[in-house]
Assembly symmetry: C2
Homo-oligomer: 491 residues x 2
Amino acid sequence: MAKVLTKREDNYAQWYNDLVIKADLAENSPVRGCMIIKPYGYAIWEKIQAELDRMLKATGHSNAYFPLFIPKSFFSREAEHVKEFAKECAIVTHYRLKKDPDGKGLIVDENAKLEEELIIRPTSETIIWHTFKNWIQSYRDLPLLINQWANVVRWEMRTRLFLRTSEFLWQEGHTAHATREEAIEETEKIVNLYTDFIENYMGIPVIKGLKSENEKFAGAVDTYAIETLMQDGKALQAGTSHFLGQNFARAFDVKFTDKNGKQHLVWATSWGVSSRLVGALVMAHSDDNGLILPPNLAPIQVVIVPIYKGNDELEKISGVAEQIKENLTKNGISVKYDDRDTQKPGWKFAEYELKGVPVRIAVGPRDIANGTVEIARRDILTKEVIRQENITDHIVNLLKDIQAGIFIKARKFRDENTHKVDTYEDFKRILREKGGFILAHWDGTSETEKKISKETKATIRCIPLDGKQEKGKCIYTGKPSNKRVVFAIAY
Amino acid sequence: MAKVLTKREDNYAQWYNDLVIKADLAENSPVRGCMIIKPYGYAIWEKIQAELDRMLKATGHSNAYFPLFIPKSFFSREAEHVKEFAKECAIVTHYRLKKDPDGKGLIVDENAKLEEELIIRPTSETIIWHTFKNWIQSYRDLPLLINQWANVVRWEMRTRLFLRTSEFLWQEGHTAHATREEAIEETEKIVNLYTDFIENYMGIPVIKGLKSENEKFAGAVDTYAIETLMQDGKALQAGTSHFLGQNFARAFDVKFTDKNGKQHLVWATSWGVSSRLVGALVMAHSDDNGLILPPNLAPIQVVIVPIYKGNDELEKISGVAEQIKENLTKNGISVKYDDRDTQKPGWKFAEYELKGVPVRIAVGPRDIANGTVEIARRDILTKEVIRQENITDHIVNLLKDIQAGIFIKARKFRDENTHKVDTYEDFKRILREKGGFILAHWDGTSETEKKISKETKATIRCIPLDGKQEKGKCIYTGKPSNKRVVFAIAY
């Protein structure tokens, strides 16, 4: 199989698109801005879902399902919220088609016009808080910890597979609390849960922080974000967790009675990660040969390829391969034995390299004679020959090594591409020459942020939670600052 | 807790609605015809999903995801298909709202009108077969076995929670095959898979059969249906599997090249079950006290309730309860220990009865003294006292007994409410007096079927696959027939 991908250094965006298509992750659909997630890409999303769902349930959250449609009037109830989402939403206005009297096609039946238009949910705060009003009366009903796995639609004008599509898949958490402190605690708990997932399953190091006023969620008091760095030096926001204060409780009149019989507005959070994570996974680790998937999220962790001439050899090899597969499967490892006779071993090697299967085992006639197998590691492209009797332990440890190695490599990249700068000249130069995360002092005003952003395209990704206090001067205005913030050009 | 449900014999429809609401399964939403699936109801759906997904993957199917939107023009490509779905679909016509210049609300921005309207998928054959055209070139690409978990919208005028809602959740399988025989085999394989699931997990006996021309899916050559009987004597279609012939391949020009280089149209199937199954589960088994859930799908299989005065007693009881919980959990049983002090034991007993938890264990001071526990069985409302040391094995077996017992009871009901009739008079009388499934001869014409349906509201549910050949006369026309078909009034 010839090299099928554009090289990263030639055109990173094209490399990404090639890879998503050629590795059978997703493709564009005939509906503008919507993608088709193909089985291999969906299998990665299912792995992401399964782990996150387990983590969310372990921390007391329950899944529920709310309608796809939101009445137009709900939208206007929270002023900031509507400003953000009204500009890019899919609107249902009618409920019937009829035959075109002038032709053989179909037209909208004007007699089937909705009294109130329905918006396809871009996010569900409004319909959920309308519902919470009925679910919450007393302090006994709190906290209410709800999560939803759903599709949402935001009418994006420039779309890219997984990273930005008009329809995408996500989970959205919506919680209600009796106190401000408890809601903030929940917001932070979720940031840490996402961090755990993104670092330990996706193998991508993160910076946690607060969004500035310009960048926070429409309707939030505070937005916590998780920022990751891609190989082209651009930042990607991997997840957000919002402390909503009492904004939605006020908009939908959701109150609870405390132990003393007094009424209070409820405190809220919301948070989500989406199918965008698949895009982040691809962009963070992969190389010019194809995907590199961390074992914890790889749909196939180990592939076994037989190398043979004729059925006699295949039979002997299959005996060994099936035994290896059985032993690995018993250890919870997902294994594919690819004994198709329609493709040559070389083709299969390239195919599984492209698809990022972490470990490839090849078994040939010499291995049968010697009691060995050849093991190839996708992430660093090394090969070794080992004895068959040691294979299960070896693979179990190898998968752990790969998982750890992928994270360490990404962290090294992130650290090497994080720069402290103290002048606006350096800021612009680093941005132009290297990209990456830039740690710089900022005077805390939206005005300055907007100017820097307009001039350089870099935005404040977050005000890092673990950034240390440090006296300094804003790179743009020279005004005093006591903490560096993280700038980058972002996806 | 007082009895909160209408009695089945007083008003079955009201009983069902009461139960769905009071057991916290679902509620109506502010969006007409759409429901909110509450955490307990969604947990049942998740159990259904998990089992079906496992069964579908074990038979070689892969999940994928296709867009929510279908371009209007796709709809018209298959003539029968469009006739069925154009009358009841949600249509997206615009993609932006703007401020109402005359007020403070929002209006649709007429400058943001779509060139071609988008239909919210009522089912995905059209967009999937449009995609399959690119995925299928050669016989090597077949069979293609795809499944999708998704929400779909059909603009229903009369809706009922779970049973018929404008938006519902489902899985839809779409497969492509090289031969007619293989596609029919797939269609039947799925009917059997659904039957296995509905009988062995949901505990509901089914009749498998073919739909008549009037009742088959729009665009299918043959529709296989799975029919179940509810406690009010009405039938409920629990799942369908369609042999689509080459209709969609023709509509979307999907061909493959065989081994000899010749081109052929591809053969297709599609099949689905939906969140309607939750409604079937409720209606098939439950009683005037609340839900009765089969253990295989119960979110909580065992609840433990402490009966105590004061903290000393509670502490001793909790020691025993936690140990029981741990041992049961190790055996894969889902257990809740409800030691809330905000509710009395009697309230909890009624609550878990209402919610259909299969087994309740009560532990009080006398049990601590005697080394016993009290076990209550939800399905037949019996209680027994057993020794603590035998409890794990006892519960494991008890759950199996309950699962089997629920099915046997439902099958007995189904058999007692299945009537052979040979005259139209008897047909109408049985329908009026007893309902249920009616096995009768029919002359095979749509005309007769429509007349019977118009006069009695009963429809042909299916032509049973395992019905034996038997000479007879159509109950309506007296014309010859060689097999009885199943009539019923249906949900």
